[in-house]
């Protein structure tokens, strides 16, 4: 393992890709992640020694890379993965954050959580089984959460003699299913996570495959357009008032740009007041900045003295979000306690907090085939449904398909303070 060939200045131009993997115990997900970490030389000797020792103890003939993703003792005792685990590796081109989630239907909550921040989803299909219900479920969740890129890995190709026909059949089957989904960028790869075929190194067993390896795919997927650079959205997070001699009258609005590009001199409208002003400067400790765009955290000063506080939003005059209190969403329920129709919840949306009442459940979604369920509208743990809520204060929002930040919200139980629902605005 020689990593001395690292170019020291690489990191000044590397970008960041977040991806999610979902799978069940047997489909080789842990092995695949282990393989990516191992072949990208992200595994250290002490970690490798530990899993070599554990593999030997368990009587395995090869080093079981899936042990690298072994979780908490609480999980080992129960033989399951309870939670989303985050893992990291880097190549000279990109840094990667993996949200590793268990794939069983009981863990829809975890898949949704992992998918909420991902650019890309890896869907694993066992070459022997083809597209199964679980494949559809993972894909539908990826689509609902508006993951822009999906990489379908047809795994265990070694067990079907690296047959091109098997691969092509699965690809056709998946495409037929996926035409109803909103994912536009889908890649297909024949791999063997266990043997390493087409994961990092090109396989000699698939001469009929001329596409990229998984690592090449992850390194080159174009994520430049994954943020919304069109609709100017700046939710005010915190007001900075130094009260110091030097910055006596300084009043800065801190927050993260959630859409569009802001420049000094731009005319902006403050919501909810509707007052217009101009951006005086975009400030930072390293000096004034020429522009701000997602996902930058910046501080803006304005030309006029307007009363603005957390939860307000700066937007462009000619491109404003929707403003309203009756909002339809797809909701994923995250808590053992079922959603109460007519129930009241705290909501968090951008930097704003309000309360809401669940006015109506339109339907529940069968997450294995996207069918609407109208005869049973009870929304419990891991269910996804379409609901109408009414909020105590107007929200400034966009459709989730247009902007993941201004289109998402969470519901919080008023009594237990737990996060119980994840909503995507229609």
């Amino acid at each position: 393992m020689d990593k001395n060939t690292v170019d020291l200045d690489n990191y000044l131009s590397m970008d960041l890709l977040r991806f999610t993997t979902a799978g069940s115990v047997d489909d080789g997900k842990s092995t695949l992640i282990g393989r990516l970490l191992y072949d990208s030389k992200s595994i250290f000797e002490d970690q490798l020694e530990a899993i070599e020792e554990a593999s030997h103890r368990k009587g395995k003939e090869y080093v079981d890379l899936s042990l690298l993703t072994d979780g908490l003792r609480a999980e080992r005792e129960q033989g399951i993965t309870i939670d989303v685990a985050y893992r990291y590796f880097a190549t000279p081109k990109r840094k990667f954050i993996i949200a590793d989630t268990p794939g069983h239907i009981q863990y829809t909550r975890n898949m949704v959580t992992g998918a909420s921040t991902a650019n890309l989803a890896i869907i694993l299909i066992d070459a022997r089984n083809g597209v199964i219900e679980q494949t559809c479920r993972h894909s539908i969740i990826a689509s609902l959460l508006q993951i822009k890129h999906v990489v379908v890995c047809v795994n265990k190709m070694d067990l079907v003699n690296f047959s091109q026909q098997v691969f092509e059949d699965i690809k056709a089957e998946y495409l037929a299913f996926a035409k109803n989904l909103s994912v536009k960028d889908i890649h297909f790869l024949p791999i063997s996570a266990l043997m390493g075929d087409n994961v990092v190194d090109r396989s000699i067993n698939t001469p009929w495959y001329s596409g990229k390896t998984l690592m090449e795919t992850l390194e080159t997927v174009n994520i430049d357009q994954d943020y919304n650079f069109t609709d100017g959205r700046f939710p005010v997070q915190y007001v900075i008032r130094p009260h110091s001699e030097q910055y006596h009258d300084f009043r800065g609005y801190a927050g993260r740009v959630e859409g569009g590009v802001f420049k000094p001199g731009d005319e902006v409208v403050v919501l909810p007041s509707g007052l217009k002003t101009k951006i005086a400067a975009i400030e930072s400790m390293n000096g004034k900045m020429e522009e701000a765009f997602p996902p930058m955290s910046v501080t803006m000063t304005l030309e006029n003295d307007i009363d603005i506080s957390r939860g307000d939003m700066l937007v462009k005059a000619d491109n404003q979000p929707k403003v309203g209190q009756e909002i339809e969403l797809m909701i994923c329920w995250l808590n053992e306690k079922k959603m109460v129709p007519g129930g009241k919840y705290v909501i968090k949306h951008t930097t704003k907090e309000a309360r809401c009442i669940v006015k109506e459940v339109k339907y529940k979604v069968n997450i294995s085939n996207l069918e609407e369920i109208h005869d049973n509208k009870e929304i419990g743990l891991n269910d996804i449904g379409r609901v109408l809520i009414k909020t105590t204060a107007p929200l400034f929002y966009d459709s989730y398909s247009v902007n993941r930040s201004t289109g998402s919200l969470i519901l919080v139980d008023e009594f237990t303070n737990e996060t119980v629902g994840a909503g995507m605005i229609i």
Binding site: L16, Y86, V412, T419
Partner: protein, 301 residues
């Protein structure tokens, strides 16, 4: 093609700043846990950026085990002064004197576990409702499942089976009276990211991260620095070696690495070719397979 592009370090910085501002907005009495190590130094730097030109709107809290490197303590005081932050120091020795903590026995008694007692006492004393920590998910498997906003009950305990789901960038800091949160703004950073960021931002760090000569003893493969807190056993003896520290913790459990790295570039090169994890130099994690998980449940950092 878009020109709107942020490098991975700038994205990680933006995320950490967002989390810090979220805490300042959602909580009444936050504090930043400061150890003088590189992760907490980066945290202070990020806090400066998050609230500039205002001063950092919360105090730094250092739990001093009494087993710190003198270079770390000097650096701590110098840094707090430079950034104009209020620093609170609470001592494990005071908890021992009060009888709330009991010193370990043995040749290098660790005060690592005892820090938890003093930390929880300080949280109660100052009624802190959110404490920033520099923990990273890449450090250790119990940390890999940690949230940005990590809920702690009124005993300061972490319950890994009952964590709040964390979606998008919507952080739920709601709690009952007496409960608090630990918040980890650099959750998604790796050791390499931290070093690259220190180099990028030119952040000062204590001298012991760079190569120097020091008397050390080799105890079961861990090079421990000579100090009053370590008793030599059997054939052990101190030898002078050219070393540096990859992490900084207590002198009783922080192992040195033999290294001639004299600059950040050399450190980055060394980290890039490292064959052992960073915490491999930490004797505190070697005590058992689930050592960190157990400590976190009790209220550790």
């Amino acid at each position: 093609m878009s020109n709107y592009h942020l490098t991975h370090l700038k994205q990680l910085e933006a995320e950490a700043i967002f989390v810090m501002r979220e805490v300042a907005a959602q909580f009444e009495r936050p504090a930043l846990l400061f150890s003088g190590g590189k992760d907490s130094i980066v945290m202070v730097h990020l806090a400066q950026k998050a609230f500039w030109p205002a001063k950092i709107p919360f105090p730094l809290l250092h739990v001093d085990t009494g087993h710190n490197f003198v270079e770390t303590l000097d650096f701590r005081d110098e840094m707090a002064q430079r950034v104009g932050a209020n620093i609170i120091v609470r001592y494990v020795q005071d908890s021992i004197n009060k009888g709330t903590a009991v010193e370990e026995k043995g040749p290098n008694p660790s005060r690592n576990m005892l820090q938890t007692v003093t930390l929880l006492e300080a949280i109660e004393e100052f009624k802190f409702d959110a404490c920033f920590g520099g923990g990273r998910r890449d450090e250790e498997k119990a940390r890999a499942k940690e949230r940005f906003f990590s809920h702690r009950d009124e005993f300061g305990q972490w319950d890994p089976k009952n964590q709040r789901p964390e979606l998008w960038n919507l952080f739920n800091g709601k709690k009952q009276v007496g409960e608090h949160f630990r918040v980890f703004p650099i959750s998604n950073w790796t050791e390499m990211d931290v070093w690259q960021y220190i180099a990028l931002e030119n952040i000062p760090i204590p001298s012991i991260y760079f190569t120097h000569q020091r008397e050390v003893v080799d105890r079961r493969g861990t090079l421990l620095a000579k100090s009053d807190f370590i008793t030599l056993m059997g054939e052990e003896k101190y030898e002078t070696k050219t070393i540096r520290f990859r992490t900084i913790g207590d002198m009783t459990c922080t192992g040195a690495v033999e290294s001639a790295a004299n600059s950040l570039d050399e450190i980055i090169r060394e980290v890039a070719s490292a064959r052992q994890t960073e915490r491999g130099t930490r004797a505190d994690d070697k005590r058992s397979d689930a050592a960190m998980e157990d400590r976190k449940k009790q209220g550790y950092f």
